[in-house]
């Protein structure tokens, strides 16, 4: 392959799938915030029409990795990326690629609900208008709100501000906003951490529906959630040996295998809840 392969030493990190089935081939060599090495040497393929779960202790770089996949981290001036993320044969970190373009195809749902200061309808229609969608806006908005399990609650007040909703409703609104444009890949960073169990299950059902047509990468701190929805699970951990706190991929594989027959001791400790 290329030089990146040499840099990756952890055996579990070389887990691979048929290139035919990958929609994103992510070879993360080094991710820095300024001088701080946040993530190193992790190869994380995102499979087509699958849900790829990212688990690991907090601070191990799950969000950092996820946000590198649609160049969200480019907003942070001190962020620096080494490696490659190949999407439909194209390295999205290539100099010729505009990050704006990447984010049109690879959508994102954030951990904190972040609706725009505009009506519920306009929030959901935002991406459609941005992409100059010519079809029936109303129909798309309704469909997106339905799939985010929010339609019945808001159908009579679409003109109200998105910020007038409760926290859990706001998060589902953000999910509706993200799925309205039907992005090819959807990155979700702990999307359910602000939701109650019922809404959580509804969002999980949505993810399962979404993967029929799209691909999902999901960061979750909830291991039950990973076992419920993720086809593949990647376990990250923190290496504190050099006095720094650098995250890396410990093990990646089919979800059942990772949880029932983990290869690495670290994974075994984490999934059985012994992690300190």
């Amino acid at each position: 392959m290329n030089a990146t392969a040499d840099a990756v030493t952890s055996p579990a990190a070389t887990w691979s799938i048929d290139p035919q089935d990958t929609v994103m081939d992510c070879r993360l060599e080094k991710i820095f915030y300024g001088d701080f090495l946040a993530v190193r040497n992790s190869i994380v393929p995102i499979e087509k029409n699958k849900i790829t779960g990212f688990i690991g202790p907090s601070g191990c770089g799950k969000s950092t990795v996820l946000r590198s996949l649609n160049r969200m981290n480019d907003l942070i001036p001190v962020f620096r990326f080494e490696g490659s993320v190949t999407y439909h044969g194209q390295d999205i970190y290539d100099k010729s690629i505009d990050p704006v373009l990447v984010r049109r195809y690879i959508g994102m749902v954030f951990q904190q609900p972040n609706p725009f200061s505009m009506s519920i309808y306009d929030n959901v229609a935002f991406g459609l208008r941005l992409n100059r969608y010519k079809g029936d806006l109303d129909e798309r908005v309704e469909k997106a709100l339905r799939s985010a399990a929010l339609w019945t609650e808001v159908k009579d007040k679409l003109k109200n501000s998105g910020l007038s909703l409760s926290g859990g409703q706001q998060q589902r609104l953000c999910i509706a906003r993200a799925v309205a444009t039907e992005p090819d890949v959807l990155l979700m960073d702990e999307p359910c951490s602000a939701l109650d169990p019922i809404a959580t299950r509804q969002v999980e059902e949505l993810m399962l529906e979404l993967k029929e047509h799209y691909s999902v990468a999901l960061v979750t701190h909830n291991m039950q959630q990973a076992t419920r929805v993720a086809d593949t699970t990647a376990f990250f951990s923190v290496d504190i040996s050099q006095g720094s706190r650098t995250g890396y991929l410990v093990e990646m594989g089919e979800t059942r295998q990772v949880f029932e027959d983990p290869q690495a001791d670290l994974t075994k400790e984490y999934v059985s809840g012994e992690f300190s």
């Binding site: 990447v102 195809y105 959508g107 200061s117």
Partner: protein, 322 residues
Amino acid sequence: MASNPFAHVVTKVCGPPSAADYGADKLLRAVVWGAAAVILLLVTYIVFELGRQAFPAMLSFGPEFLYSTTWDVQAKQFGILPEIWGTLYSSLLALLLGGVLGVAIAIFLTQDFLDHRVSNVFRTIVEMLAAIPSVVYGLWGIYVLIPLIRPGANWLHDSLGWFPFFGTSLSGPGMAPAALVLAVMILPTVAAISVDAFKRVPYKVKEAAYGMGTTRWEAILKVMLPSASSGILAALVLGFGRALGETMALAMLIGNSNQISLSLFAPANTLASLLASSFPEAGPIEVQALMYAALALLAITLLVNVFGLWIMKAATRKFEGR
């Protein structure tokens, strides 16, 4: 002081607030209520006193004072329509120019066009504009601005004179230099308050915008502006209020001419400038008329502020659902 029914609870640390704590509480309450009362009394007193002094004029000139156009002390004819027009026209022009420029500067300073340190220096420079005394602006207008814009203004009049805004030539003081200086004077207010409004937009909202795949222009126009809109409107209302009441620079620059014209280059007058330039030599009857004019200025400022507050409320409700 309230009695403590929990005094018997066995604990080494927890206990009731001391008498001094309660005393400080009461004192603080008295001070803030007092401050609020002083403000209210002061405003009431000013309006009352103004009204009392203007009352004879209100009786003798009636509402006609507000829509007649002569100010003739000899003939005892007083009307302030040209001044009302000049006040609103100059302030609107200033708001348009200073508002657009101020919001643009706020965007430039907050939306990652500049390194943080550079943008702080830039912001300080803009705010220093507010520290320049009004009379200095007036002098600058007379000696620098008017000579500077006169050739362009007269060229506009010569070639596009049929256009109402360019209907006269600029011979000296006039609406255009006055409005330009006013715009510069309200610029720091508008810019500083808009900067704060943009800074209050949470980072996660910006992230959400870029996460949808917006370009910077789209993120600013479609997301950041609506999010900051109530603060920006507050900035514009404050700027407009400042323009309405500005006196010294306008008295020096507007030409103090009692006429109503759309032309940017014609001399005009404003209420504040009328008051400032007429009081020193006014006889008793004229003073009463001037008090009436002052009351009108006060009413206009009040109406503008109420209207501004109403727009801000509407914007807050529309965009933020509060």
